[in-house]
């Protein structure tokens, strides 16, 4: 899948410094939103944003457009970096909780990514619909837990505390949910 971001990543891979500025302009707001939501702290998100941009420059050569959109690849690197930071935090900082979006999956109403071609927008929309439909097949609280993990980096521990169930119960719930999701999404 190609988008403007994947074109910029190709230029990064050959050390094109001008492309770094263009990538920053087009991707920084999205990355800032992602990192702020996951880290829950704006100052840390700004710090993380710098790290993510440096990783993108260093790893751009390993991006393969055959395996996914440029924006998806960038978000995966940013999420990975945010998780790295969250998992390095001392446990004393306490459990975090799922906030917002009481299970309603209105992703389809969100503004489409302007950096994306029409064809890819259609394709991503179709995939989004599939994800929405698959999440709807899950019990509502489990769908909420999976989204909480993805969007906020909540761990089994955080989720067990929040849903007030034993850790093993949460693990079993979510593993079952993941199996159903995989089956549904690969259909």
């Amino acid at each position: 899948m190609t988008d403007d971001i994947s074109g910029l990543l190709k230029r990064l891979a050959v050390q094109d410094r001008a492309a770094l500025g263009l990538l920053y302009s087009s991707a920084a707001p999205k990355l800032m939103g992602l990192l702020t939501r996951m880290l829950g702290d704006r100052a840390e998100a700004e710090d993380a944003l710098q790290e993510v941009m440096i990783r993108l420059w260093q790893r751009a050569a390993t991006y393969d457009p055959q395996k996914g959109s440029g924006m998806g690849w960038i978000c995966a690197i940013a999420r990975n970096h945010a998780l790295d930071r969250l998992r390095a935090r001392p446990a004393a900082r306490g459990h975090r909780v799922v906030s917002g979006g009481e299970g309603d999956m209105d992703v389809l109403d969100l503004v489409a990514d302007p950096a994306m071609g029409v064809e890819d927008q259609t394709m991503l929309r179709a995939r989004m619909q599939a994800v929405v439909a698959c999440f709807e097949e899950l019990p509502a609280d489990r769908a909420r837990a999976v989204r909480g993990a993805y969007l906020m980096g909540l761990s089994y521990h955080d989720l067990a505390a929040q849903f007030d169930v034993p850790l093993n119960t949460m693990r079993t719930w979510l593993r079952r949910s993941l199996i159903s999701l995989r089956e549904c999404l690969d259909r």
Binding site: L20, K30, L34, E46, A76, M128, L151, S155, H157, I179
Partner: protein, 215 residues
């Protein structure tokens, strides 16, 4: 719930991508994603499955951090400092010679130092470099594609101060040179324009890093 081990691995990839794992388990999976190609492929599949959820991250205004990012990626070569280096270079050469006389003589008598090794594995195992250092000479063998037209792989050792210094270019998938290295030092390989970095520091993507260990 019992599952075939294959499926267990796939669920581990999902738990890693979602971030459900606690610190130690997460870090172990992170390490595995960097070194185990099959596991990395499962991780990619889950990232692709869940990618549409990224739309739920609302955009936020970001301050202009580009100057900081650029100055970290491309430290400006300072001409004055360079002149200083040349002086330092001459001085340290004399120093190194003197030190060599002092250090070498016991080395000649001492039992051979343990061989240090490091395996540098790029993402997806597309490039794997096996390094070994026998106390005087560093040997590197690459398994993977050539750097490509107009590019070279450059090897670096990262000093205790965190500053990389070049160990040279990989040509025909190999590099052999005299060096003074120690266990615990980190080797890194970067992709550079043909002929190597001209700034004295990596300018291209760092493809892999690994620590030198006895063994």
């Amino acid at each position: 719930m019992t599952m075939p081990p294959e499926d267990d691995d796939d669920l581990l990839a999902a738990e890693y991508v979602l971030g459900l794992l606690e610190s130690d388990a997460w870090r172990a999976a992170d390490q595995r994603a960097a070194t185990d190609g099959r596991f990395a492929a499962r991780v990619r599949d889950w990232e692709a499955r869940l990618e549409p959820l990224n739309d739920e991250f609302a955009e936020l205004p970001a301050p202009d951090l580009l100057p900081q990012i650029e100055s970290r990626l491309f430290p400006a070569p300072a001409p004055r400092r360079r002149r200083g280096w040349r002086w330092l270079g001459a001085g340290s050469l004399v120093g190194a010679l003197a030190l060599g006389l002092v250090v070498l003589s016991p080395v000649l008598r001492a039992p051979p130092a343990p061989v240090l090794t490091a395996e540098l594995v790029a993402e997806d195992r597309a490039l794997v470099l096996a390094a070994s250092f026998d106390g005087t000479s560093l040997n590197l063998r690459a398994d993977g594609p050539e750097a490509g037209a107009g590019q070279d792989y450059e090897l670096w050792v990262i000093g205790a101060d965190g500053v990389p210094s070049s160990l040279g270019l990989l040509r025909d998938g190999a590099l052999t040179r005299e060096a003074a290295l120690q266990a615990g030092q980190v080797l890194a390989v970067s992709l550079e324009p043909a002929g190597g970095s001209t700034t004295g520091l990596p300018t291209g993507p760092v493809l892999a890093t690994a620590e030198l260990r006895a063994g």
